[in-house]
């Protein structure tokens, strides 16, 4: 379509100045945006109040759609369970027989573990839960992998708390609002998680790739020791994520590490548990005595 007439205002001084002013405002607005951007790059948590307000406004609609989505999924699962009832029953009975043996072994190991811990005078708290919520939305059009949780400060959720689902680690809290919180998922390129291989405790780091997979890099140099199918769990190093949370499964070996898929799928997790930082008090005490420079505990 041809541009409308008011682009060429003719002899009217008023119209000419009016057109000129729109261009001045446009250029000035662009510069103001660039300035705002520079501020938010320098201080990523700076405009969190605005984002939190946006999340709070849209949260009721997101909660409603989340409920609808969940009930639809439940309906599917129920219908599928009726259809598969017979074969599933047989399979589950076979599995239960195998599990019973393993359960007895695990019980014996637990007793032995407690005895050994008593000998070593080690006391270790289990992971303590802060609150349980649901993931109600995610930044699915941005390269940042951030999700919104349905609970916030009203349930005691604070920054730098780890979040896990029933199947594995989801991420950590980076911003909190009155009734919502924002979670940096483990697949974000910025989220580094100290992990280990479940079978032998081989220490490694995980970094998100932004496409649903994570890159596992072992701490020691040399050829990648991983195999396809290796199970990766959190190691508890650094004192933020508790140890032994299921994390990811290796799908491909690379020259210096491995590609893995996290167990927790944010789109398919029925609930998300916010837990207290592992050894958070010890870390805070350590920081109070000898603060390590300008490092903030957990920046976004």
């Amino acid at each position: 379509m041809a541009p409308p007439k008011h682009r060429r205002p003719g002899f009217s001084r008023k119209a000419q100045y009016g057109l000129f002013v729109t261009y001045v405002v446009a250029i000035a607005g662009t510069m103001v945006s660039a300035l705002l951007l520079a501020i938010s790059v320098a201080d990523p948590a700076g405009f969190s109040a605005l984002r939190t307000a946006g999340a709070e406004i849209t949260a009721p609609v997101a909660r409603m759609f989340s409920n609808v989505r969940r009930s639809a999924q439940n309906m599917n699962a129920t219908a599928a369970a009726y259809i598969n009832a017979g074969s599933q029953n047989a399979a589950l009975q076979k599995q239960a027989k195998v599990n019973r043996k393993k359960l007895i072994e695990a019980q014996a190991l637990r007793v032995e573990n407690a005895r050994l811990r008593g000998l070593l005078k080690l006391s270790e708290d289990g992971e303590s839960q802060v609150a349980v919520g649901r993931l109600i939305s995610s930044t699915s059009s941005s390269t940042r992998r951030v999700a919104t949780l349905s609970i916030g400060r009203n349930f005691g959720v604070e920054r730098a708390q780890p979040v896990r689902g029933p199947s594995g680690l989801i991420g950590r809290v980076i911003e909190t609002g009155p009734t919502t919180a924002r979670i940096l998922l483990v697949t974000d390129a910025e989220n580094l998680v100290p992990v280990m291989r479940a079978s032998d405790g081989l220490p490694a780091f995980s970094a998100g790739l932004g496409n649903g997979t994570v890159l596992i890099k072992p701490l020691n140099l040399g050829e990648s020791p991983f195999k396809v199918g290796d199970v990766i769990v959190t190691s508890g190093n650094g004192g933020l994520y508790p140890p032994n949370i299921p994390f990811a499964r290796v799908i491909k070996k690379t020259s210096d590490g491995a590609l893995a898929i996290p167990y927790a799928d944010p789109g398919n997790t029925p609930y998300a548990v916010v837990i207290r930082p592992y050894q958070g008090e010890a870390r805070a005490a350590q920081q109070a005595v000898a603060p390590d420079g300008e490092t903030k505990e957990v920046a976004e």
Binding site: R7, T22, V25, S33, R51, S142, T143, E300
Partner: protein, 184 residues
């Protein structure tokens, strides 16, 4: 063919039945609110429970904004990229100000193109929109990379293709909204 009298549609709203059928004025509120609200709602779609493993959801706010601008030149003022972009930043998860800057630059580049290529058809508009969508998405990745660690640009390819293919649909929606906007 003779049309039977019964098929002629009568005005259904009782209050308007006795009003004049011509020389009506459009509602100013409707004329202003429809473009603004449609872009705002499209920006907020990302707040719905849609979970993707990689950035896949097209930037619907940007698509809507570009369609309004290219389909109806002169409706949105030159500076409108700034307020619409800043609103999109609140919901998109990008660093605040990134869309404000990029959408405004897109708006200014369309303004320059408008001065060069005056008569354009839909395909040319689509081409312009495709270049701008790819530019804004890659620029967004670059800006996110300044503030945080950013992934490889290759993760954006599916989203760019999907967004370009969705542009004609966005223009259709805008055209429908536009005829509603200008209806008396």
């Amino acid at each position: 063919m003779k049309i039977p009298v019964t098929t002629i549609r009568l005005p259904t709203r009782p209050a308007r039945e006795y009003e004049s059928r011509f020389d009506r004025e459009q509602s100013l509120l409707k004329m202003l609110a429809i473009p603004i609200t449609s872009v705002a709602i499209a920006s907020m779609i990302t707040a719905l429970p849609i979970f993707t493993e990689e950035p896949l959801l097209p930037p619907l706010g940007l698509l809507m904004f570009l369609s309004w601008r290219l389909m109806r030149p002169g409706l949105l003022p030159v500076w409108s990229g700034v307020p619409f972009g800043l609103m999109d930043d609140v919901f998109s998860g990008q660093p605040f100000g990134s869309a404000g800057l990029l959408w405004s630059l897109a708006m200014l580049s369309i303004e320059i193109i408008d001065a060069r290529a005056i008569w354009r058809d839909h395909i040319q508009d689509w081409l312009i929109a495709a270049v701008l969508i790819a530019g804004v998405l890659l620029g967004g990745l670059w800006i996110a990379g300044m503030a945080h660690a950013a992934p490889d640009p290759a993760v954006l390819i599916p989203q760019i293709i999907l967004s370009i293919l969705l542009y004609p649909l966005a223009v259709r929606i805008c055209a429908r909204l536009d005829s509603w906007r200008l209806a008396t």
